[in-house]
């Protein structure tokens, strides 16, 4: 589904990613862990197509298509979802309208009919329940005045409505208390399926107690320095990143 080969990327001229190789197959959940500044968020932004990030070498293929050739909106329409570490507030645009515009833009791209108001509302209500989102949050402007936990739940709610093929979730656990973390994790787990891939990016091992990954990768200094099963996360929890940082240096 996703193949990343020797990916190098820079931000404002500074190289952040220094040769990443990663393959995600349908149904797999991958977790990327790493210390601050290791390039975790850069990887997610590059995948989503943020123009502030420049790919200087390597390639990214999504279902065989060269991702670098696609605008951010077309990546989303192809089925990639980025859950933001810091979801953006959009004053004046209601959450529901925003999602409807997104759903229909994606459907149009895929040659499907747009959802009518009733169908859309039904879908939204159903998925909102999954994330325990109150109706009132649906009618408020996107993320405006939301608490940290509400913002993260809103991200997963959007994912649940958009039903992507690949979800890249950037620090979806940061800033959450344990109750909120459970809700978010339940939402993600409910969306796991044999044809959907996940890339979880996290700083903390704690998330992986709630969402069991198939693979764990340790990202240090712009490179994946170790890959393994979920036991790698436990190892990290005990030893910390220091050991890997030494190896990387």
């Amino acid at each position: 589904m996703l193949q990343i080969k020797n990916l190098h990327a820079t931000v404002e001229g500074e190289e952040i990613l220094r040769g990443i190789d990663l393959e995600i197959k349908p149904g797999e959940v991958h977790a990327i862990m790493g210390p601050n500044g290791s390039g975790k968020s850069t990887l997610s932004k590059v995948l989503a197509g943020n123009e502030g990030y420049e790919v200087t070498a390597g390639e990214i293929l999504f279902e065989g298509k060269d991702l670098m050739e696609l605008e951010p909106e077309d990546r989303a329409r192809e089925g990639i979802f980025l859950g933001f570490q810091y979801p953006t507030e959009i004053p004046g645009v209601s959450n529901t309208y925003f999602l409807k515009a997104a759903v229909n833009a994606i459907r149009k791209y895929r040659g499907q009919d747009e959802l009518d108001a009733m169908e859309f509302l039904k879908l939204v209500k159903e998925r909102a329940k999954l994330l325990k989102l109150e109706d009132q949050l649906l009618n408020r402007p996107v993320n405006e005045g939301f608490s940290g936990g509400e913002k993260k739940r809103n991200e997963i709610f959007q994912m649940a409505v958009l039903e992507p093929k690949l979800a890249v979730l950037d620090e979806i656990d940061s800033g959450l208390d344990i109750d909120a973390l459970k809700v978010v994790s339940d939402g993600v787990n409910a969306m796991r399926s044999a044809d959907r891939g996940f890339l979880l990016i996290t700083h903390y091992q704690r998330l992986l107690n709630y969402i069991q990954p198939d693979y764990v990768h340790v990202l240090v200094n712009g490179k994946i320095v170790k890959s393994g099963g979920k036991e790698l996360a436990e190892e990290l929890e005990k030893s910390g990143y220091a050991l890997f940082e030494e190896n990387a240096a």
Partner: protein
Amino acid sequence: MEQVASEPKNPYRDDFLVGLRSRRNEPVWLLERRQAALAAFERLGLPGKRWEAWRNLDLTPIADNRFPLLHTWGEIDDATVEAALGDVPDVYRMVFVDGFFSARHSALEGLPSGAAVLSLDEAMDAENPALERLGQAERTQQEPFLALNTAFMGDVALIHLGKGVVLDKPVVIVNLMSTKAEGRGVYPRTLVVAEEGAQASVVELFRSNTADAYLNVPVTEFYLDANAHISNYRVQEEGGEAFHLATVLARLERDATFTLHTLAVGGKTARTDIHVDLEGKGAEAELDGLYLAGDGQYVDHHTWVHHNTEHCNSRQRFKGVLDGKSETVFDGLVRVAPGAQKTDARQENRNLVLSPRGLAHSNPRLEIHADDVKCSHGSTTGELDREALFYMRARGIGERDAQALLTFAFVNEMLDTVRLEALKEYERELILRWLPGDETVREIQ
């Protein structure tokens, strides 16, 4: 200095003399006011770059009477009238074509007693007492386009509300330009006199059937006696090559309230001067303006709000969106006269620039001559939030659609103060048509 009587002092005088022939039925006092106004205009001349308030606006394309006065009017089909809020029931409607009153398109039946909505001829026949305010404003001596309109105004719209009269339906004044107006000057005039306790909404619509250049110089005056409450909605959607140089005057006595809501989307060069005089204690003015300037457009709003006595409030909120190579001006003065204590005046101007070639001038000004007042002003000019754009695109919304959504979000609150549902819908449609993006975003709720 000696002058030869037959030699015109400027190219406007010939037009004036021709116009006089059709005004034989006008009372002497009105003809004298017209003459005084023409003399004032001749003395003032067209404002040039040396006038502080006019320095951004190039008036050379209209100099030397290049748009001579239109003496007759053209044809307008019913569909055009229909499109101009014409299908909205429950309004009193006055339609003017090229500045001439079209009784056939108008609907004024059922006015409550004490209320009169009349053209100039009708007002003269009825000897309506409010008429004497016409052309009386002192500013005629200082404002060239107010003077020019006073000299040239044709079929005036007069709205006279007697003491305590509350109009049950809004008055919609539709100013339409036919192809006849191409290359010509038109001078619509509206006079609203609201006596004590009277209340009404007045909608003014400026539309055209021609994409060619013409000059429209409308003036609207409001006289609000004690405790009168008037809302004025102005929608300016002139043709793409038009010059629109408008003046609004409002004079408020004790406890009167005046709310102005403008939407400016049309014209090549469009300017609206708004003068508000708060003369009586407790008077209150709210001015809301939204302007959308596309490629090649110049859109200008100047306001002068005079707090001439104590305990008056004023609030101004102007928002602009600029696309393509466009230029806008917001220049607003709040002047608090000596002794006008307990003044509460707020002024805000926000501009959203969608294109690197858009130029927004913002100049809120305060001139305070009293010490116990609350005055604030703010001004911002910015671009669309790049992070918000990326966030939307990352959800599959196309770039132009995302821009449209964010732009609509920026302007949407300006519709909140439109209290007439049909008008709100009309304005929303105008805004949505103006926005970038495809049809998907047109369903914005």
